[in-house]
């Protein structure tokens, strides 16, 4: 399986949403967010970990987080959304509204970290949808303060695509990133997570055969009609 650079990830995303790929952002985000929710539900059962703090960044990954929050609500979890810097795109507002219709609480945007600290006291597991494959350091406020607080909580963390604060290609080189126990890579894993040691899933079962071939992704086979597949160690890797 190929581990992707930030640039190649962007190229694949662009191709999926091009005239040739024909996907809309709504479709991809829906399937990606569903895969995130299913990963969390696979690793952290709702009877033991019902309270999920869904941390959303201002970009597309925050959108994946909002979709995941809605599905987690559907699955019977009690998600709460922490989104200190809401994205401006129309789609985030629609996704947020969908969560509100599920009665999912949203912590009002603010730079006051007390809200976050308080929420963590009532959290069983964190879904990290803060930064995605287009993240470039440095970590901007308020997330530079948020990430250490999340780590210090010692709660289990499920990260989406790339643990927030990690270099997309080099990993947690500066030691300032989140320390997740589980990871869901979307489309294909990024180079920065090649040494990740927790449970690692792939999601985004929408990459057509033509694109898998073109980019030589060698994606793993998903079982049955699942939307996620767990990687087992010893998987072949090719950097690109």
């Amino acid at each position: 399986m190929r581990y992707l650079t930030s640039k190649l990830s962007q190229q694949i995303d662009d191709e999926l949403m091009s005239v040739a790929g024909a996907f809309s952002l709504d479709q991809l985000m829906e399937l990606a967010g569903l895969a995130c929710a299913q990963t969390l539900a696979t690793v952290y059962r709702k009877d033991v970990y019902p309270r999920v703090l869904v941390c959303c960044g201002p970009g597309n990954q925050g959108g994946d987080g909002l979709v995941a929050a809605r599905h987690l609500g559907m699955f019977g979890y009690n998600p709460i959304i922490y989104m200190p810097k809401p994205g401006s795109k129309d789609i985030y507002q629609r996704l947020q509204k969908q969560c509100e219709n599920m009665y999912i609480p949203i912590i009002p945007p603010s730079n006051d970290l007390e809200d976050l600290r308080k929420a963590l006291q009532h959290t069983d597991v964190i879904l990290d949808a803060i930064f995605g494959f287009s993240f470039k350091p440095p970590i901007r406020a308020p997330f530079d303060a948020v990430i250490p607080i999340l780590n210090e909580s010692r709660l289990p963390i499920v990260s989406v695509d790339i643990p927030s604060g990690w270099d997309v290609e080099k990993g947690n080189v500066h030691g300032i990133g989140l320390r997740p126990s589980a990871l869901i890579s979307l489309t294909a894993p990024k180079q920065g997570v090649s040494d990740f040691v927790g449970r690692h899933f792939i999601g985004g079962r929408f990459v057509p055969k033509s694109l898998d071939e073109k980019f030589e992704l060698h994606l793993p086979q998903y079982p049955g009609f699942d939307q996620i597949v767990e990687l087992v160690s010893g998987t072949n890797k090719t950097s690109s």
Copy 2:
């Protein structure tokens, strides 16, 4: 659980996609089509029934069928799309393109029923996505001829929402509709299928709690993180 009229089904769909509901057609169609594919895969295993003829109508249900065809391709089935009257909306063209990128064959649109007859000789199971909850008789050409041919094939049929040719509220009163062995009701079942005797599933796990309450749908509880739930006989029904 409430069994819906055609009018109420339309009202719920409109509400889901209103400013208040905030869903896009792309999102709903993606989850609906995924539920259709999962239903077929649950009832007809791909090692025994690998070849699926996906029959699509010209409306939104045809779009659900195209999404289902793509997911069936992802699941390892060999779907073929039969869509004699393609819809004109941009979304159908995008969904069709997504199927082409999965190398899913599409029978060229035509009124020549020989194409259909030939395809049925190489089919193990049919997915019926021809008419949905807004169907009003009479059955228009070429579907007036297509439906008897599908029935005569004696192949198992999975119908989406309402078996094609059935009255949405009264069922197969004229005996001219398809005779499916399994059914996937989207959002909530329609009045016309209240006496359906095959395996019956509900899909479309996107109805928010607020809307379930407003329309008193009393939707069944989905298991785990599945996108479909099978109904067992003896379920309470309320007509509306």
